[in-house]
């Protein structure tokens, strides 16, 4: 396994566990600790605008139409299915290119072998 890839993977996991610019910035600003993501929500306190009038909200006013009847199941299934589709397409294309290339390599090596009377390097 290459050292480069291992270092990248390690970095990925360190960052994924939240090396955290965000948490540090929040605690520096004296913000209360973030509630567990996915935990049942506490009764919502009214959001207070900051000095520029910005109201922190995970869902701006023009995006509150989430009660519409789009079923979540097909969205989740489509997203999960797309992963497999993309990965299988990548594997299929890579395997096909490798097979073609190996066939061409064998052909070229054979021709070189016949021409020079020794195996090509």
């Amino acid at each position: 396994m290459s050292r480069l890839l291992l270092s990248s993977l390690l970095l990925s996991f360190v960052l994924a566990t939240g090396l955290p610019l965000a948490s540090r910035a929040d605690s520096a600003a004296g913000a209360p600790p973030a509630p567990a993501y996915g935990a049942p929500a506490a009764p919502a306190a009214k959001a207070v605008p900051d000095s520029e009038g910005f109201v922190p909200d995970s869902r701006p006013a023009n995006m509150t139409n989430v009660e519409e009847g789009i079923p979540a199941g097909p969205l989740v299934a489509t997203a999960y299915g797309f992963i497999w589709l993309a990965v299988l397409a990548f594997v299929g294309l890579t395997a096909r290119r490798t097979r073609q290339l190996e066939a061409e390599i064998a052909q070229l090596a054979e021709r070189l072998n016949q021409a020079t009377g020794s195996s090509p390097s």
């Binding site: 396994m1 290459s2 050292r3 480069l4 890839l5 990248s8 993977l9 970095l11 990925s12 996991f13 960052l15 994924a16 566990t17 939240g18 955290p20 610019l21 965000a22 948490s23 929040d26 973030a34 567990a36 993501y37 996915g38 935990a39 929500a41 910005f54 995970s58 869902r59 701006p60 023009n62 995006m63 509150t64 139409n65 989430v66 789009i70 979540a72 199941g73 969205l75 989740v76 489509t78 997203a79 999960y80 797309f82 992963i83 993309a86 990965v87 990548f90 890579t94 395997a95 290119r97 490798t98 290339l101 390599i105 070229l108 090596a109 070189l112 021409a115 020079t116 090509p120 390097s121």
Partner: protein, 238 residues
């Protein structure tokens, strides 16, 4: 022409048995993950659609990991003239495009239900789209850029890698509707097994795909060397 100076063991592909083992690990993980995802507690605000989180986040991470890997390998190619590093770079770039595409497709499917829109020109979404476009440009430059295409692509990869920290900090530095980086550390305990199983399985899948792709690039290098030999021997005209 400058000689290639490849650092030893930088890009040596894993033996096939290791690849099969890794493939088995990722297959088991990917088969178990949906079951754990379905059993994980439902997020109270967004409901069932939030389950996209379990594979959207790892895929977005892998896109960034690919971009960083490509950036470092491209720097090695540019400054140390390492052909093997270039093989890693192009493999990582293709994986960045694949996993970036998955993140860009799965994100809007989640957003449509959670935010009410498919897409928002939010800084996190925009910088991620930019990353994807940069690596598409890398592949085009390398494929169609002529004799200097590889070096041009390597330069683009450095820009792409520089976009990664910007994507990471974007949710902290700018006002954004995208969830922050504090989500994973503060994840509800019931959600952790599903998330970490997905994360590990997809990372292992990334390693397997990377190794397969590097093998292809090595085969291509072998073909090019043979092609030159055949030309020298007068077997091929062009």
């Amino acid at each position: 022409m400058a000689m290639s100076t490849d650092p030893p063991a930088l890009t040596k592909p894993a033996p096939l048995t290791t690849l099969w083992l890794l493939l088995a690990v990722t297959s088991v993980g990917m088969l178990l993950a949906p079951q754990l995802i379905l059993r994980a507690p439902t997020e109270p605000t967004m409901g069932f659609v939030q389950r996209i989180f379990y594979f959207h986040v790892p895929c977005a991470w892998l896109a960034m990991l690919g971009a960083l890997t490509c950036g470092v390998a491209s720097a090695l190619y540019l400054f140390k003239n390492s052909d093997k590093a270039e093989h890693v770079a192009v493999s990582a770039a293709e994986l960045t495009v694949v996993f970036g595409l998955i993140a860009i497709v799965s994100g809007p499917l989640w957003a449509r239900k959670a935010w009410g829109v498919w897409w928002q020109w939010d800084v996190r979404l925009t910088t991620t789209a930019l990353l994807w476009i940069i690596f598409i440009a890398y592949l085009f430059a390398r494929r169609y850029g002529g004799p200097g295409g590889r070096r041009l692509g390597a330069g683009l990869a450095l820009f792409g890698a520089a976009d990664v920290p910007m994507i990471y900090v974007s949710v902290s530095l700018w006002r954004t509707i995208h969830p922050k980086t504090s989500v994973v550390p503060t994840l509800d305990p019931g959600m952790r097994p599903a998330f970490w199983l997905s994360m590990v399985s997809l990372h292992v899948l990334f390693i397997v795909l990377m190794q397969l792709r590097v093998r292809l690039e090595r085969a291509r290098a072998r073909y090019n060397a043979l092609h030159l030999q055949a030309q020298d021997a007068g077997l091929i005209d062009d």
